[in-house]
């Protein structure tokens, strides 16, 4: 393998990138990207774009980095040709399994339809925030990676494929360069599915990215470390992808309860393992560590409304994260079964998903045909429960306490993928006098750029990519929503009822110094609800980066 891909020292192809190029010239960066390629942000953010981290010599020497000069996955360079061949063969076997009913019934129909009937009309292109933010880099075109997979399937899995596929599908080669670039490329899509919405035929290029990730994970054992080893594997072994076991999580929640009492003057004691409770609330456990005010606010609201609720200390039952949704059906199923078993054990009426988008999607719909029999526990969104509470009259609110500009980020997995659009808006319209929408919003929203697990992935120079490319459109939307009061003199609140989105937005605001330049902070929905409660005497919202 040749050298690559430090921006100052890279071997770069100057030719227009074609689909078949994915398997050619493995010693070159196929389609380099850097800050100079990106569209200009509104002032004052157009003055200078932060420089991207340079890859270390060790990284360049040891890992494959020949896609775009960004390294999210750190695949070690192969020891020898035999190792290359071994993985290429595994990939070929994985391709066939991807098309088998027993191995991939979970997504076979949408996959086959998307593979066989796309006419490459490119109607999806402009819908993709990554493609548009990048200035139209060919490899980020939503059809690019789909077309690579389509050609590989046609050539290497169909009878006569090597003979006819060049005519029917176009040229492609399956080799080490192809699979390593394709692996990295599967992690340049946030799975937001905006492209699928735009497709006249109903082709889903987001799904194809996920199917590729699945092939790599379930056959080659390749997956993003943050999603697999430090994600689902850790969660299934210890109880949470944060690494917290049941003792630690209880300690942390106890601390949060105490903190809430100090902050608000309201005593709360979070109930654990209450058998027969109406609601089993499952947070994304990342909230407990990174945004403790969120689970704290939930406790205050549920207690004030007299809800019969509990948390579970059962392993996995206290962490709603399910990164399997992003890359692996087996891990997805294992985690979701654990969630249902925790609810079954406590004999609760229903599970309520906390403010976490991918947890919502995994629990409410994607797992619906996995959780059969006595695992079919009722599951709903916290947003519908919160709407019920806010408009029930059980809690007294003073909306003037929220009289500052507020806008709403729509998490893709809650809004576009589940159609939960209005409950959160009805709450914000009622409690936030200066609420304003982003453009576009609702089911047409743009992804924060942290979707599909990116928010927890920061290896090498990937943070630069996910923030400034993946999150660029979202930052523009946020700034535009507050364009009437752009300066730092007016504090502004970005409501993002999703843990992953908050992680990405935190990085986005820090990267561009948005708190200082525009005084925009961010948080969830429950924080705004508590801030508006008459019984809470001190301001609950903290105007600081957290």
């Amino acid at each position: 393998m040749g050298r690559c891909c430090d921006r100052g020292d890279e071997v770069v192809s100057t030719k227009k990138v074609r689909v078949k190029d994915i398997g050619k010239r493995g010693d070159e960066v196929l389609c380099p990207i850097g800050p100079e390629d990106l569209f200009e942000l509104p002032p004052p953010y157009n003055e200078s774009e932060p420089a991207w981290k340079e890859l270390s010599e060790a990284t360049i020497d040891k890992v494959v980095c020949n896609l775009d000069g960004v390294v999210a996955l750190s695949i070690p360079k192969p020891k020898d040709e035999a190792e290359e061949k071994e993985y290429v063969e595994k990939f070929r076997i994985g391709l066939t399994k991807l098309l088998e009913k027993n191995n991939n019934w979970t997504f076979l129909q949408p996959l086959m339809l998307s593979l066989e009937y796309c006419v490459n009309c490119q109607s999806c292109n402009e819908a993709c925030p990554v493609f548009t933010s990048s200035g139209g880099k060919e490899i980020y075109r939503p059809t690019y990676r789909a077309e690579v997979l389509r050609r590989l399937v046609a050539k290497y899995t169909k009878p006569g494929g090597k003979l006819f596929s060049r005519f029917t599908h176009g040229d492609i080669d399956l080799n080490w360069t192809t699979i390593t670039r394709l692996y990295e490329l599967a992690y340049r899509c946030t799975l937001c599915r905006r492209c699928a919405q735009a497709c006249p035929i109903g082709i889903d290029n987001g799904l194809i990215s996920r199917e590729l990730r699945k092939l790599f994970s379930q056959e080659l054992g390749w997956a993003a470390k943050e999603l697999h080893e430090k994600g689902t594997v850790l969660q299934l072994e210890v109880g949470s992808s944060t690494g917290m076991n049941e003792v630690v999580v209880k300690d942390n929640i106890e601390f949060i309860d105490e903190d809430m009492a100090d902050e608000t003057g309201i005593e709360v004691t979070t109930p654990w393992d209450k058998e027969g409770a109406d609601v089993l609330l499952i947070h994304n456990a990342g909230e407990i560590l990174s945004w403790p005010e969120n689970p704290g606010a939930f406790a205050i609201i549920l207690d004030a409304a007299g809800i019969d609720w509990t948390l579970s200390s059962e392993s996995v039952g206290y962490d709603g994260v399910n990164y399997g949704l992003f890359y692996d059906d087996v891990q997805l199923s294992r985690v979701t079964v654990k969630h249902a078993e925790a609810a079954k054990k406590l004999k609760v009426n229903k599970i309520v998903a906390g403010e976490c988008g991918h947890q919502h999607k995994a629990m409410l719909t994607v797992s619906d045909r996995v959780l059969t029999g006595d695992l079919a526990v009722k599951r709903e969104s916290c947003l519908t429960l919160l709407e019920e509470i806010v408009f029930s009259g059980k809690i007294e609110f003073d909306p003037s306490k929220n009289d500052f500009p507020v806008t709403l980020h729509d998490p893709c997995n809650i809004v576009r993928n589940l159609g939960i659009v209005e409950p959160q808006r009805r709450i914000l319209r009622y409690l936030c006098p200066q609420f304003r929408e982003m453009t576009p919003h609702g089911v047409d929203n743009y992804c924060c750029g942290g979707g599909s697990g990116f928010a927890v992935m920061s290896p090498n120079n990937f943070t630069d990519w996910r923030v400034s490319v993946g999150g660029r459109m979202k930052l523009k939307q946020i700034l535009d929503a507050f364009a009437d009061q752009p300066g730092p003199e007016v504090p502004k609140y970005l409501c993002a009822p999703c843990s992953n989105c908050k992680g990405q937005i935190r990085d986005l605001l820090q990267y561009y110094d948005v708190l200082e330049k525009s005084n925009i902070t961010y948080g969830g929905l429950v924080e705004l609800i508590v801030n508006a409660m008459v019984d809470v005497k001190k301001p609950f919202i903290k105007w600081e980066m957290h």
Binding site: W105, Q109, L113, E116, Q122, V233, Q331
Partner: protein
């Protein structure tokens, strides 16, 4: 050109290929197993919510409420999509100017075919006035050929010239457009040469049914009919079947929001699928060749 006998035999063979391949490919799409839910908003049958993309999951304890669907909204959405190519209009306006006449040209030709069948049927039933509809049918077909030809030519030029399409255009895609263009061109030429194409096609059609080998078509008419039949026989093997696939991508993927109910059809089918063997090879799957999905999903992974 071909003798009438050869023409009739060839036509039946091509029609048979079309019918068998079309049915088989459609059945193949329909018989793919149910999948994990993967709906995408907006779902137009969501009563009172589809205009903003909302779903029944917005309801507090949604399982206690009746699911209200609005099939008129769904049909209206689909009609706008099929007739006017709404998504292409909204997301790819440049292409719409060619794609729309191309598709509408084909719809007009299908309508002309329908009218021909209707008028011929009525004529056989003794309504002699229906024979007079032939000229109207020919005019309709001429419009179809003109629209389709303009669209096909535009699409072909776009595929060659537009950098968005160039690398994604396969030889097969260009061949498809050339074939369609040839059908539109021969049809248009046959009409322009003052031949009553509708009557000739009807005569040929009845000849096919009755086995009347005395049927005679001019050279261009033969070319048109044969190209048309060739296209039909070839269609089921191509991506042009997307007009059938679209039913499944919309109704069985994007808009499939049916929740699992205890003992219901979905649960029975899901249990059957979960009982299938898993052979994925990565170590963490731990499939060992004997385990099924239930075994794998319920395996204790705690260290």
């Amino acid at each position: 050109m071909f003798s009438s006998t050869v023409l009739i035999v060839l036509s039946w063979a091509l029609l048979a290929v079309f019918v068998v391949a079309f049915v088989l490919r459609t059945i193949r799409m329909a018989k793919l197993p149910i999948h994990l839910r993967w709906e995408l908003a907006p779902v137009p049958h969501e009563k009172g919510k589809s205009h903003y993309g909302g779903s029944y999951l917005e309801e507090f304890e949604w399982w206690t409420k009746p699911r209200e669907t609005d099939m008129v909204k769904e049909a209206s959405y689909m009609l706008q999509e099929i007739l006017f190519l709404r998504a292409v209009w909204e997301h790819n306006r440049r292409l719409w100017w060619f794609s729309f006449p191309f598709h509408i040209g084909m719809y007009v030709l299908i309508a002309a075919g329908g009218l021909l069948l209707l008028s011929g049927g009525l004529e056989l039933a003794g309504v002699e006035a229906a024979a007079g509809w032939r000229s109207g049918t020919t005019v309709l077909a001429a419009a179809g050929f003109a629209l389709g030809g303009f669209g096909a030519l535009g699409l072909m030029i776009s595929r060659i010239v537009d950098p968005r399409f160039r690398d994604y255009t396969t030889p097969a895609a260009l061949f498809n457009l050339i074939l369609l263009l040839a059908i539109f061109a021969t049809g248009g030429y046959a009409i322009a040469a003052s031949q009553n194409l509708a009557s000739a096609v009807w005569g040929f059609g009845t000849g096919l049914v009755t086995g009347d080998i005395a049927v005679e078509l001019s050279g261009v008419q033969q070319a048109h009919v044969l190209l048309g039949l060739l296209f039909l026989a070839y269609l089921p093997f191509t991506r042009m079947m997307h007009f059938v696939a679209k039913y499944f991508t919309y109704h069985q993927v994007r808009w499939d929001d049916e929740p699992l109910t205890s003992g219901g059809r979905l649960e029975v089918e899901a249990n059957r699928l979960l009982g299938q063997p898993v052979t994925w090879g990565a170590p963490h799957v731990n499939a060992n060749g004997c385990k099924n999905w239930v075994d794998v999903a319920t395996e204790e992974m705690k260290s």
